[in-house]
Symmetry: C2
Subunit: 200 residues, 2 copies
């Protein structure tokens, strides 16, 4: 930890400064991630690249997982800012999010690594983050699908909760298949879900 | 590497012995994985648990990834042997595979970690394995779906290739959501895909 970092703590305004310093570290970590990918983003290498000590980094982010979850969250917020108007249909939302993800190099890899890591024992931070994230997205999509069902534009013989879970799963899974096999036609395949959801 | 391992190489029958030895190491690695999960399965800890040297392990498996891919492949083959009669429909195949996966502790975690790892630079073994695996499963499911389309039991307004990719993606993604949130009703949600695939 640098003297600046040490001096920050315990003074008036220290919290606000701490928040700003954390954000600064995060911004640099995102750059490092974009330049070097996941393999280049050990805590030690990020600390080196940013020019802070390993200990300083651990003051703001307790683990590599916590820092990478913050990097992912930041990239997702940025995406939301670039595309402020949400598409109308549930399938449209999922398709656009998937297509947008693939435009940020390394983002789907980061997401997949973090989700897979969250399943492992000992990954409390990632587990909390992704459990809450899945829950929130399922809830938002379920509401959207329910109103589409009421409007008669989405079939109602399958509960909206199940459709929501399936749309998210299909989108997550297809992004991975597309990364390994780009002939998959991600956008068209996801858009086909709209056909499957049409009332008969 | 033990003296036995060294002595094996270069003698008549050495290849067959090498294959048997590799299988023996794999069997023990599977036990170690089942007891300790992914976190306990560094190459060094597997070598310790099996009672071979780290160098001997590297003779049979070049990397942790290669050993873990073999552990996964073995678990999948075992599952195929336990359930030799494949279910009739494409949705049935995917639903049963997903439900079976969840009965083997740690298997979905292992699968997710390996697939996510295969997306990273430098993971040639995993990338080859999962690209080929997805391709094979998509091809098998596409054939099955095509014959269901011809028989009139599956809708034909979405190409069978796209339906196959979507079924695999939905199954992979739902297993992860279920692990983080067991109230998801994995089997019922996957079975709902049969409703979506019904001809209108």
């Amino acid at each position: 930890m640098s003297n600046d970092d040490r001096a920050e703590m315990g003074r008036p305004g220290a919290y606000a400064k701490g928040v700003a310093r954390r954000q600064e570290i995060l911004d640099r970590a995102i750059e490092v991630f974009q330049e070097r990918g996941l393999q280049g983003t050990s805590l030690r290498r990020i600390a080196e690249a940013i020019g802070v000590s390993h200990a300083a980094l651990l003051h703001y982010f307790e683990s590599r997982e916590q820092l990478l979850v913050a990097v992912y969250e930041h990239a997702e917020t940025q995406r939301g800012r670039r595309n402020p108007v949400p598409p109308e249909t549930a399938v449209g939302v999922m398709t656009r999010a998937a297509v947008d993800n693939l435009e940020v190099p390394g983002l789907v890899e980061l997401y997949s690594i973090l989700v897979a890591g969250a399943l492992e024992a000992g990954s409390e931070h990632g587990k909390r983050f992704f459990t809450a994230r899945f829950e929130r997205i399922r809830r938002e999509l379920t509401e959207r699908l329910r109103s589409e069902q009421r409007a008669g534009t989405v079939r109602d013989d399958v509960p909206a909760e199940q459709l929501a879970a399936l749309l998210i799963a299909a989108s997550d899974g297809l992004q991975i298949q597309w990364l390994l096999e780009p002939s998959i036609e991600l956008e068209r395949t996801l858009a086909s879900l709209a056909v499957l959801l049409r009332p008969s």
